[in-house]
């Protein structure tokens, strides 16, 4: 789960990481008031779930309260990579002398969190890793005792930061690692860690991603979830317990089991179609779940037809068929549906679908070809009218 910069900083503050005072504003008026409260100059930072805000103009300055107000008026409502800015973080401007990178990220190959430090901060760390790998210091965390202060100091010293940053930064790095582990993060980074002209060391920007699997026990952070404007359906699907991923084609796809759904996507693409989504209904789904899944997929206005691919084990064919028939009257009139069910309850399901006049796929390939053909035929007929 993504959270905003101000929320990541709130988590870090709790672990003792120095961050600037900051307040959230949703209007230019509020921004001006905050600027008066903090004293100018201030920085106005768009709070959106994407990187590259600065380049997009989402970070602006206010040398007077009035300028802060104008800057907020420009940033609020701004479109950054398809997302509308709805709130800004207002912080006092600081005089930065140097910028560094501190991060903790789950590393699949090590099966553990890896701490990353670089004296090259404030820029895209992946770019640094690619172009100047010698500037990246990595340390695999032993999860039994976390990151030891001695490891933190060694990393910072190796990165070649000034002595004051080795001292103050090591406390920040161990705190960052603790925050990562205790908040069930998969990524926690401070970029940049700033050394100010007056010798302070603080987190000028922060990013944290929380493991979706841990949200059941990270209840406070789970409550911070916001719909991503670019993908409102994905947000709603999560709330309904459906595993749904929005793609950009027009063939809706539903199946049971992640691997099977992924393979169905590939099969539809091979048949000349473009997948509109990935939807896994999981194991043992009843008719109601199937109905809900179909209606959900059809809410995507791009969807022109839906293919259902179920391998019946604990999921029963007749339940799936009943769900499809239930959904049929609620779906846009004439929307093509092709179903393919195998295994448990196959014959019963097939009979039910035949009675309802629905198309049957003999196997995954046949179903994919049929849905693409039906959508094309419908398009051609529509075009001829």
């Amino acid at each position: 789960m993504k959270i905003h910069e101000y929320q990541a900083k709130e988590i870090l503050r709790r672990y003792g990481v120095p961050v600037q005072p900051g307040k959230i504003a949703t209007t230019p008026d509020q921004t001006e008031a905050i600027a008066r409260e903090f004293g100018v100059p201030v920085v106005i930072k768009a709070q959106v779930y994407v990187g590259g805000r600065g380049k997009a103009g989402g970070i602006q300055f206010g040398d007077t309260p009035e300028q802060a107000r104008e800057a907020a008026a420009r940033v609020l409502g701004m479109d950054i990579k398809g997302l509308t800015v709805e709130k800004v973080l207002v912080v006092p401007k600081i005089a930065i002398k140097e910028e560094y990178y501190l991060g903790v990220v789950f590393d699949r190959a090590s099966q553990a969190p890896v701490v990353i430090v670089s004296a090259a901060g404030g820029i895209d760390i992946e770019e640094v890793a690619e172009k100047e790998p010698e500037k990246i210091i990595r340390h695999v965390v032993d999860v039994r005792w976390g990151l030891l202060p001695l490891d933190a100091r060694n990393m910072l010293a190796q990165a070649g930061v000034p002595s004051v940053v080795v001292a103050k930064g090591s406390a920040i790095l161990t705190a960052l690692t603790r925050a990562y582990m205790e908040s069930d993060a998969t990524l926690a980074e401070i970029n940049p860690l700033a050394l100010t002209e007056d010798g302070q060391v603080l987190a000028a920007d922060a990013k944290i991603l929380i493991d979706d699997n841990a949200l059941v026990r990270q209840k406070e952070y789970a409550g911070w979830a916001e719909p991503e404007e670019a993908n409102p359906l994905e947000f709603e699907a999560k709330a309904e317990g459906l595993t749904y991923v929005k793609l950009d084609g027009d063939v809706g796809i539903i199946g049971n089991g992640a691997g099977l759904v992924m393979t169905t996507l590939d099969m539809v693409a091979r048949a000349g179609g473009k997948p509109a989504n990935f939807l896994d209904i999981g194991g043992g789904a009843k008719a109601e779940v199937m109905r809900k899944a179909l209606l959900f997929v059809a809410r995507d206005p791009q969807v022109k037809g839906i293919v259902v691919n179920i391998f019946g084990g604990i999921t029963r064919g007749e339940e799936v068929a009943k769900g499809i028939i239930m959904a049929q009257s609620e779906l846009p009139a004439g929307m093509p549906i092709v179903a393919r069910l195998s295994g448990t309850g196959e014959a019963e399901g097939r009979a039910l679908l035949a009675d309802a006049g629905l198309t049957w796929g003999a196997d995954m390939r046949d179903a994919a070809q049929k849905i693409v053909a039906e959508i094309n035929a419908k398009e051609a007929a529509g075009g001829a009218q």
Partner: protein, 289 residues
């Protein structure tokens, strides 16, 4: 013969008294698996399906001589259940549970270095040895005894491909679902090694998917094997940055793409099936049948 499991294996079920645990215990018994007991803390001394239930894995092992554990414990307790199985000295631990927090699995990974057990999963369908039984949730009726080893990250995709093999008259030695999480106990590479050493396996089918680099690692080893390996990669149409159902199925940056995996397999002279329907004929070709 087989890898990891055969009819002499003695299996306990952690979480046997739960809905899933009970349902699949019955199915395992029906497939001929020697389930010898279960573990549910607080239910020690009771019986389920005529089998004894214990409070701890250590007790279950001492009383039943079990060497394999199958875990159906809910996500937040599953990591502890895996470590308990390892601590008790289970040779093989199969964890079916989906949705275990990654942090918990990093602790499991560290723990298993000092308390070894052959962990399969988590977030997996388990394993089956046709003719001898299964550990986990695979539908047993799709299998056929034979000499082709099968390993996959997925559940239902495994069933599809196994059903195609069976229809084509190709039987299986053992089938392993290694799981779709970013941290899993047993990788493709581990399974290829086990199949290479198994005298009753003549060829291996490996169904991978996007995410991570386990398929690439396995490809390098496949090139050195005495037995043919046939590959398939799912997720060719998955866009980067999108998690496709499985927590581990994500193309991040330049790693984990389907194309990279297909190329790695082809470079290792592993024939890669374009679709699952091409797998049986590639197996027959490789075995000269």
């Amino acid at each position: 013969m087989s890898i990891l499991y055969d009819k002499t294996s003695r299996v306990i079920v952690q979480g046997m008294t739960g809905r899933e645990g009970l349902y699949h215990t019955k199915n395992m018994l029906a497939s001929g698996t020697q389930v010898v007991g279960g573990v549910t803390p607080g239910k020690g001394g009771t019986e389920v399906e005529g089998l004894p239930v214990f409070d701890t894995v250590a007790e279950a092992k001492a009383k039943t001589g079990a060497d394999v554990s199958c875990i159906f414990v809910p996500p937040l307790g599953a990591a502890d259940a895996i470590m308990e199985a390892a601590h008790a000295g289970m040779a093989v631990t199969v964890c079916i549970t989906e949705g275990i927090p990654t942090n918990d699995m990093t602790r499991v990974a560290a723990y298993l270095k000092e308390h070894p057990t052959r962990l399969i999963g988590p977030n997996c369908p388990g394993l089956a040895t046709p003719g001898q039984g299964k550990v986990g949730i695979m539908p047993y009726h799709i299998f056929k005894e034979g000499d082709v080893g099968f390993v996959s990250r997925s559940g239902t995709l495994t069933y599809e491909v196994v059903a195609l093999l069976t229809q084509a008259g190709i039987g299986q030695s053992s089938c392993i679902g290694i799981g779709g999480d970013p941290i899993i106990g047993t990788t493709f590479l581990d399974c290829l090694r086990l199949f290479e050493a198994d005298p009753n396996t003549a060829a291996v089918v490996m169904c991978g998917e996007i995410g991570g680099s386990d398929e690439e690692d396995a490809a390098a080893y496949a090139a050195t094997m005495s037995k043919p390996v046939i590959g398939f990669i799912s997720g060719r149409t998955a866009p980067p940055g999108k998690r496709m159902g499985h927590a581990g199925a994500i193309v991040s940056g330049k790693t984990g793409s389907a194309q990279g995996k297909v190329e790695a397999l082809q470079a290792a002279h592993v024939p890669v099936a374009e679709t699952i329907f091409d797998i049986p004929s590639l197996v027959k070709q490789a075995l000269g049948r």
